[in-house]
Amino acid sequence: MTVKDILETMDWGPAPESDTEAQGWLEKHGRRFGLFIDGHWTEPGETFESRNPGNGEVLAHVTQAGADEVDAAVRAARRAQPKWAKLSGHQRARHLYALARLVQKHARLFSVLETLDNGKPIRESRDIDVPLVARHFYYHAGMAQLQDAELPDREALGVAGQIIPWNFPLLMLAWKVAPAIAMGNTVVLKPAEYTSLTALLFAEICTEAGLPRGVVNIVTGDGRVGEAITAHENIDKIAFTGSTEVGRIIRKATAGTGKSLTLELGGKSPYIVFDDADIDSAIEGLVDAIWFNQGQVCCAGSRLVVQEGIAERFHAKLKARMAKLRIGDPLDKSIDVGALVDRVQLDRVQHLVDEGKGAGEIYQTPCTLPNRGFYYPPTLITGLSPSDTLMQEEIFGPVLVSTTFRTPAEAVEIANNTRYGLAATLWSENINLALDVAPKLAAGVVWINTTNAFDAAAGFGGVRESGFGREGGWEGLLAYTRPKGKTRPLTPITAFPAPAQAKVDELDRTAKLYIGGKQARPDGGYTRAIWSPKGALLGHAGLANRKDARNAVEAARAATGWAKASAHLRAQVLYYIGENLAARADEFAKRIDLMTGKRGGAAEVEKSVERLFSYAAWADKFDGAAKPVPLRGTALATHEPVGVIAAFCPDEAPLLGLVSLMAPAIAMGNRVVLAASQPFPLAATDFYQVLDTSDVPPGVVNILTGFHNDLAGTLAGHLDVDAVWAQSGADISALVEHESAGNLKRTWVNNAAARDWFNAESEGREFLRHATEVKTTWIPWGE
């Protein structure tokens, strides 16, 4: 084609990025890679091929790690950890700073290698992935620097096993490695088998940065390596980003092991367009939402929800925009959409669309796909309903599905009609509308008039089945630290047995369950006598069964007003509970002493009143934050209530323990189902009378009595419970964690460790954090 011809056609023409350097790097390694363990490369063992999805060619042979090698990596990490954690924050900061600098110095090599390995357009790896990687290491160099001063009460977890996906290979590595090592952990990281190469280049960078050996270990391979890491007993923490399906398996596999766990899983994120939006910008936003990285993005705005009145025009404009997208060689600088990561993924997307399109109308970018490589055209499916499979299932490809809504309330309803809750996008030029809708969306991240914005300072992570834990920001450090201090094992307390000769001198009292603001007889009709150590009958407590648990959860779910009540009102209610408890202090103290046979009742009641006051105080003081993200605007981190929390109360302090769990939960706007102390339930059943007189709305607090082992399975498995706190004297931690996998609810278990409920550590931020989810709302502005 001559210049003269081009003057007529005005085509783009090719703009290839050279891969010479990256191929040279692969050649230098003989295109065969071992594992990076303890600062050294192992000899390549059994290998598998790593292919370029852009053309199907083999790039390198990468080692499939075995259990022994995983073990060697864990041992290396374990050896290195104490010394690494003992370095001052500043010394660790210098290492992270060096890593950030080296990522920048090798930025182009990383970018080209990432594109070769993953198939994403070079523009994205060059302008988005790699700069965010450097930013993440810089940011966390700063976190290491500030750790001693700002986090004096927290310490590293130990060895972190990290399993990352193939969609953002190097970026996900950075998100995992940077906070972990900043806080003094050491890591064993497994890249996805499709995309190991930039992790291996990163290993080289670690050596170049002078990182002590064993701090970062990289083991490659398929899911078996991930299983070995997950199952390894000498690992303290598992961090996983990937599919919800695998996340569930990991949740079950780590249940009861005491391993800390964070999961960043799938999504089907809504992309809501109101009729007063800047339509062209909203359409351009979709390019960044669903055609970014070929749609292989966990938080991709894959579900278009557009206001009915503008839908036709919106779709027409969207199709016109799609027609301009360029699909092809990922190394071409003028390509918008590259290759899917592997044939398996291409087949999966193809299959999902073919099977699920139903009555939908399909539009695809008119384009000629390259003969080799794994390409799928940008696709829009209109005319679907929420009930269609493709509106519910994550496709993880360049496929946008669309439906319409009539009112803001309906938009929220449709948006939240999903098992997932990772991200949500909304477009409106009306600040009132936007800021009203954003908090109502069930998502860890909300983008207003922007989409797929990321920064190390802003927390990222989901709710519901999109996982738990946050990456980025101060909140992200919680995933890699724990409160300092030693734990001691819990001593089980059993109920006092019935005496040979019952001593009954008081009027018969029947304690009931407390559900939806009403006293309720246990559904099963069974009760248990509660005896004092001296053999006095103190009363009967109901034995709650599955149906009682169900009813309690339903009542809690229905009490939606509580989350919307002002923090001031919630504080007033908590003060009032405290006031009413104080008024009956003697009676409660006596009851506790009778039940436990001890004399600490008065102190426990006094401490309970104090604790209620503490959380009344906290109700309007657990502030969020405005994150300094690189944007004209802000990213607001707000503490949202988790939802419905089922809490198993401890036995050591039957009243104070219950109050210590209930108060932070309801202070933050949650509704609770409390399983009272199993041996000493009567403090709880007396307590509902206090609740009754304290303006607690029905359903906000529900109290069950009975056997924790029975209730744990039901409540942890209940798909409408958002979190379970197991602070029980019964050994239910493993059961709760295992059963929680159903809807991936948040769990907080004691792993049979004791806690001093009178201690200051049993109050405050640690509890409030469990009672909240950080929601990050991005709000760009500018007229």
Binding site: V3, K4, I6, G13, A15, D276, A282, E284, S334, G633
Partner: protein
């Protein structure tokens, strides 16, 4: 939707394969306030798109050379200075006829090219018309009390007629910014409507002076009103404001043009002016144009650069393309 001339719209859509030279002129339409007020422009999102276009599209080698040649054909070679003289204007016109050294054109294998127009003040119109005689290059006159547009309304209208009479085939009018800033869209519409009428067969480019309109939303709405009033081109700036053509403003105006086309079938031209002085910038603007409006707009009939020093930089880049060596400004004839 009301249109003044439905016939011309039908003609337009039926004649998609016709050469650009007979592109139907915009007949304008009644002021549609619902449409105007529904226009939105989200600055942050617009800046994100404008900021990524240079990275999303890259032109290399022959493609770059061809696009730069195309850019030259779209330049309104401009001199708008108080010290303009006939000699200065004649020199500029000569450059418009032969904007690139012949040996470079030969090496690139393309025939003669010329710039899109020459743009001058009214007093220089006769000189320019004479200097460009036979070249087919139109003379554009800035008008209506350029640049502030605050001289007596009657005189502003008269000025148009004078320039047309003197041979200007394109009239770059300035709008009354105060009509935008006070939201008096009817006044803006009426003003441009009358100016359009006064232009007769000469094409009218409406200069919005976007740097003085306060917001991108105002730019979008003013663009729509000017098109409804019959503008052939909408243009960003006089070059005299403190902020002239920018990519975000261009994106807003191009999208307004697209919206107008989608609803009326009429293609309106776009002219960014002021501050575009590098070949690389020109390529970014053309990339945005191709992406947002499409290939139909990649013609001097629908796109112009208002620029004075851009040409020099393009010439240097073209010589680099031909020789492989970086060039110097003095190796190319001045305008």
């Amino acid at each position: 939707m009301q249109r003044e001339s439905d016939a011309s719209v039908t003609d337009r859509s039926a004649g998609t394969q016709l050469p650009q030279t007979i592109e139907a002129r915009n007949p304008g339409m009644a002021l549609d306030m619902d449409w105007v007020m529904s226009a939105q422009a989200n600055r942050s999102a617009i800046e994100r798109r404008a900021g990524s276009i240079a990275a999303r599209r890259s032109l290399k080698k022959d493609h770059q050379a061809a696009w730069l040649l195309k850019a030259i054909t779209m330049i309104d070679l401009t001199t708008l200075a108080g010290d303009d003289t006939p000699g200065r204007v004649r020199r500029l016109c000569a450059k418009a006829r032969q904007p690139v050294r012949q040996d470079l054109l030969d090496a690139l294998g393309v025939g003669p090219i010329n710039t899109g127009a020459v743009c001058v003040y009214h007093e220089m119109v006769p000189t320019a018309v004479e200097a460009l005689a036979g070249s087919g290059i139109p003379v554009a006159a800035v008008s209506t009390g350029f640049p502030a547009g605050l001289s007596p309304y009657r005189l502003r209208i008269l000025e148009i007629g004078e320039s047309v009479k003197a041979g200007a085939r394109e009239i770059d009018i300035v709008i009354s910014r105060r009509h935008v800033l006070t939201g008096d869209w009817q006044a803006l519409y009426d003003e441009v409507r009358e100016m359009r009428r006064e232009c007769g067969d000469a094409h009218i480019k409406t200069i919005l002076a976007t740097g003085e309109l306060g917001s991108l939303r105002n730019v979008a709405r003013a663009s729509l009103v000017c098109m409804m009033a019959g503008a052939d081109f909408i243009k960003t700036s006089t070059g005299k404001e403190s902020v002239n053509a920018t990519l975000p403003v261009s994106l807003v105006m191009m999208r307004a043009i697209r919206d107008y086309f989608e609803r009326t079938g009429i293609r309106i031209g776009y002219k960014p002016a002021g501050g575009i002085s590098k070949a690389k910038d020109a390529l970014v603007y053309l990339s945005l144009l191709k992406e947002e409006l499409g290939d139909d707009w990649l013609t001097p009939h629908l796109f112009r650069f208002g620029a004075s020093s851009l040409l020099g930089d393009i010439e240097r880049q073209l010589e680099h393309h031909v020789t492989g060596q970086y060039s110097a400004l003095w190796r190319h004839a001045m305008g």
